[in-house]
Symmetry: C7
Subunit: 284 residues, 7 copies
């Protein structure tokens, strides 16, 4: 015990021990100071970049830029603190190798299991950054269609027109169709019987469409012509450009008007047809 006490004292009074500690102390101070410096520089640069970019864009864009800027700043700060923490531990002389190797086995399982979480967040980040859609837009992704309610980092909430809320992880949002950006096209396919004169049907529909007025219609509907000749009817296609995402409403109005016009003009309805050959049956 004397020995133990003595050797400890020796160590503490040994100049080499203190020399080592001195160098370590200097290193630690240097690391902290330099880290803080780098973080300060990074924050300033990010602020400047965001400011510069925001000043060049309309206010709505600028707001999104600020959001993204804040997010990037947070992420950078967390990473810098993580690096700083690891460097300090390493300086203090705690060997992190085995610890981390041990975490590696668990890490594979977590890494694989968490990959969809990471993908969700990364995709969420790009949805906001690239402004793919905004709250209030009508979008479709996969089989889910509705009005965007919330765009989160991990999930996006879409409100279906029948009232259900679809919650979709961002990583599942691969291909998005946005109905709220451009004018949409109301497409109406009118079936006309073979017996009817196609020219007359075309001119009646054309005339009706020219007189059609609707607040959501941007241009006069256009009669494209004979789209298809099926076994029992001729299909005439009519399209009408209307305000974003109002095509269902406009198509309903067009449907009604065309039906009325064809009725008034006696254009035949193309019920399914069949030619029957009657035969007397020879008993088996």
């Amino acid at each position: 015990m004397n020995n133990w006490y003595k050797s400890l004292m020796d160590t503490l009074t040994n100049s080499n021990t203190w020399e080592d500690l001195g160098i370590t102390a200097i290193r630690i101070v240097l690391i902290v100071v330099i880290s803080k410096l780098i973080m300060w520089v990074l924050h300033k640069s990010l602020d400047r970049i965001v400011l510069e970019r925001a000043s060049k864009h309309p206010p709505s864009q600028a707001r999104r830029m600020t959001t993204v800027g804040k997010l990037v700043k947070n992420v950078v700060t967390y990473i810098m603190y993580f690096i700083l923490f690891m460097l300090l531990l390493s300086e203090v002389g705690i060997n992190l190798g085995p610890l981390l190797a041990g975490a590696g086995v668990v890490g594979i399982a977590i890494g694989f299991g968490a990959q969809s979480l990471v993908k969700d967040i990364l995709t969420g980040f790009f949805i906001i950054l690239e402004d793919q859609f905004a709250v209030g837009d009508v979008i479709q992704t996969g089989t889910f269609k509705g009005t965007v309610e919330v765009i989160g980092l991990r999930t996006t909430k879409i409100l279906s027109w029948t009232g259900e809320v679809h919650m979709i992880p961002n990583g599942m949002i691969n291909e998005v169709t946005n109905f709220s950006v451009n004018n949409t096209l109301a497409v109406v396919d009118v079936l006309v019987a073979y017996e009817a004169h196609v020219d007359r049907a075309l001119s009646i529909i054309s005339e009706t469409m020219n007189q059609l007025k609707h607040e959501n219609l941007v241009k006069r509907p256009e009669v494209l012509g004979v789209q298809l000749m099926s076994a029992t009817s001729v299909t005439i296609r009519v399209t009408g450009e209307c305000k974003p995402n109002t095509h269902h409403m406009v198509a309903r109005v067009m449907n009604k008007e065309i039906k009325d016009a064809l009725d008034r003009n006696g254009i035949e309805v193309p019920y399914p047809r069949m030619v029957t050959y009657q035969r007397t049956y020879e008993e088996g």
Copy 2:
């Protein structure tokens, strides 16, 4: 043997041995103390964060926050004990490298096999944290629809309306549709024959809907108009906003009322129609 005994004694009485032990002892004490300190700080911070957040939210949210807080505290504690254990082993001088490398081969298999387990738990955590759905909500995920019975960390139990219990691993719950958040829309498509006057059918349905009363109806049903003109009938769409997840019940009532009204007013039922051309058959 003398030699062995003597060398052991030499080692034990050698001051360097004790000096090493002394340093190790100090390091171990330091590690334990610092670990405890870090854990105490982490726990306090977590408590404060949860408290702060909970005070800003309604009680129902606060309860969830406490649950998540407890979970995070447990996980943090386990991780800290794991790190502490590894550091102590490493200080004692047991080389964990080969052990962990050996575990690595097995670890790949386990890591890959366990990834869906990890994904289940991570997704379960986010379902609770993000409040995607609560017990008692009617949700649909994939082909499974029903009332949520239990939300576990690994599996969620859903009770189908016909009585079966669906047990779904949380990792399989990608896209969720929640029927219990908003009012839902009862959609009824009424088929009317081409011969009938569409205007009259529209006004009859409209009138009937205006007089419809039902405890679950939030607003008067709306007649949208001519949704589709198919080969043999005209489809008129009627929608009625009703309380969450009562649209099946309301639609049944609307079906009944519309049928009665159309019957009373003699609006023709759109049976399938066909035009037949009779021909005498020239024998082959």
Copy 3:
């Protein structure tokens, strides 16, 4: 050769050699003793946890808990022996690094190939632990439905009602539907012709259902109303709550009774209908 012999002797008589051996011996003894201690503590804790939990639950649950406890104890023991073995090899001075690195190449192939095996066992463990289904339950997973015969760690055997045995790896059992937990609902959809008075049909079915008695029926069947108005018929839905997994049997009885009642009351059968327009054919 003399040199060789002499140097070997030198080594053996050198005190440093023995000193090293002495330290190694002490370390080995320490490792074994501590390992045994840790294992003893772990086993005792596990036993206590299982006992505590089992005393709080009904006997059927307790039995499952014991099974899981035994399994966990086995796994813990194997892991401890593996760690002990690796540590001893490492102490003896056999460098396992290259060996394990060599195994790594093979390990990737095995790890990837074995991942579904690991997933099978992990899922099997959770099926038992979470009591998702028991032997004798009627379950469906994917396209396979039947009575559970055996729940193994790797595979589950399900007996189809037509006699085939389905053997399913547990890792393939993602979403399970259990028919044996709650009462199930027999759903009967009755088609009634448009010409029939729906009100009368509803009252006849309602009356019949009120008089229906069956040992498996838990409550009186309920007539929900007009579920659907298709082109040629009106669908009336009737549901009857019955004991778990007896809905097929009850539905057959309900089918028979409703058919008889409708027959007796002359409610028209909704054969497919068609309106035909005869036309003379102008020869082409």
Copy 4:
């Protein structure tokens, strides 16, 4: 050149060189001896385990156990020789690190490419061990159904009833349905017209089934009742328990007998029905 020769001689006559060699030699001998010992112990234990287990099971099971035992013994031997070889190379002083790292790049490609091979063999091993099916059984896996001809470690051969040979890698055999374990159920669905009295049809079928005799029938066929009421017919379900995998044959006999009985008793055949409404066509 003199220098070179001299230094080589110095090395060879230096006692340290020989001392090192001596220690290495002892280590090598020890490694070989211990390896052989471990292998001997492992083989003996495996033999004893197999013998013990085999004595508790019927002979057919015992034979499979011996097969599996031999396989395990081979695998263990190969692994032990691989470990021994690596340890010896390492003792001789050949640094395997770079070699193995070099192999790592290639190893990833091979590991990933070979994973399905490993999965095939692992699954094959479990098919034999768990006795999922035996040669001669009729099984179905995925879309392939037939009699098992050969169960190999990598592939299983199934003979279709029309004569084709299906070769399926074991890793593709996930869910297996075995038709040769239990009695199977012949299911016959008889369509009866709505006009027929269901009660009479039920009693005629019931009577016919009671008189049916067939060598493969285990029990009298059972008439379950009205399975379905479709638009044009009533479906009556009859089931007959028969010897494993003879349900196709038995169902054919039941089909024939029921048809004859219904013919004799004049129960109407449910041809598709349709109600036609004739209308004069107003020219368009």
Copy 5:
């Protein structure tokens, strides 16, 4: 404390310390200088390659080449700065090993989660480099068809003809069909009744097509012949080569012209046909 101060002073006045610093300083300067040199050489080479290639191609190609060149230069610069930064840290004596190992666990999750992001950017790079499609082209990828609006590094925006905007991650763009490169073929299938003389129908269609004139038609439409003999009609196929992506418009014109010609010449319309055998029904 005296000791500590003294040992620090000793270190600072020790010539070896400064010697080490000197070597490190020289190495750092060398590394920076050489890095700058390599980057300068790389930039010059890239500029020269782009210039050389651009001079050999038409201006439109040259512009794309410049874009790609700039991108490559940026990427190279970032990589060089990253390498430089790591080398300097390593020279200063900061051990990055544990830091990076720690990042490894997180890295797996991020690496897996980010793989689709990397794939998006790589594919985007190749879409631009290989000029698969340009802004304004009409393309189809998967189920999305429309006019290309924007080709970004991560996503491509396609404008559907009905007005929706499809946003598709480049990594999802596997197989692309480009409609704007070559002349497209308008394909019209004309159904003719079996009773009609096929030869006459062929000659009438042929004649009509010879007289057809349309600004988008590149060549006279070709009558290929009898494509199919189905149960009730003969299909005659006509094709017309027209300007890129105008086939829908041209097909509509061809449809109209052929219908008019067949009408004028009395070629029979192939309504579905059926031979009916009337039988008196023996009551069941």
Copy 6:
């Protein structure tokens, strides 16, 4: 410069330098000699194994065995040379670690990208080794069916009966169906009208089949019985065992003979049937 020259000379004349070189030289020679020895032993063993096995099998099998043996010998030789090359580089003192680590980043990409290539070759090896099919066999894998033309290590070429060549990577050949191993079964399903007496039809078909003679028929066709009772017809199944892959041809002959026999005996053709109920239409 003098210094430089002098120190180099010192090094070259220093005995330690030459001593090191001497040991290295001996080691290199030893490595080369032992490698050659191992390769010689491996080649001899492989030859002996192949010879032994080939002598036990028929010549056709023996030829395949030789092919596989040569392949294995080549692979073993390449691996040995690769190991030898790496060991020599390592002996010469070139540190391969960083080189290989650098290759690792690229290696992951290549490894993942090449995995399907490796799988192709491994599967190809097993197709040859296990003799799953031979050139000239008619096989089906996935949706591709035809005669095997070439079995390569990476791809297999199959000649469709209509003349196309299918090239399939071996890794895509999972489940193979071979039509050329056993006799195949021609299956003919004869539809007979409900009005016909099934017994008479059965006896007529049976008689016809007994008189049927065809070079490819191995046994007399068997009449299995009533396979199905559908809504409008009774299905009688007839099967005929014939030589491998001639079932299409034989079925055509059986079709023809049965049709002729039924015609001669006036067994009724089961045209689709329908019961029509005429009703006068009440105008809507």
Copy 7:
């Protein structure tokens, strides 16, 4: 500062420093010389292999061989320069370990993201090497069919017969069907009514086919016989071997000729048939 200057001078004038530099210099020179040597040997060997192989094959094959040879030479050169560069850096004393470890994290993401790129290039290489198809061939892969326009290392361009260009990454080209290698078979299925005498129809078709002449027909078309007996018609199959990829054209001619012949001989067209049973409807 004096100290610093002095120690630097000491280092520079110290003979050990120069000795080290000398050895390094010699090693660098050796590495460069040996690398160049190996590259020269590799290039020569590759040239010789290509020349040898090319001389044994027809010119068309030889040209492809040269292309592949050049590619392999380029790849080998790049790899050698990469190895050389890494070795030199390592000799100069720059520690690449941390740099490469840092790149590892990024490497995983890139490696996974780039795997489809690597697969594209590898598959492209094998498509060229194995000559699976050539420019101008008509191929089908997946749902894309057309004439091959360009075979690139990453993508293949296929020109559809209607004018669209399909761009397919080579990695997506798994199973290829080549229509341009062998003669193809035009398959025509002729439907004949049950009432017609099959023998007569067979002989008429046979006669017509014997007289058929077409530049693309390689052999006389063959009448296979009765392919199918469906509910309403007998199917007679006729096949005609014709030049590669002309089967559509030839089938059209065969269709026309057979229709004319059957018309001339009054063989009945198999319109769909139905037996109708009229019943008077009992009012419900």
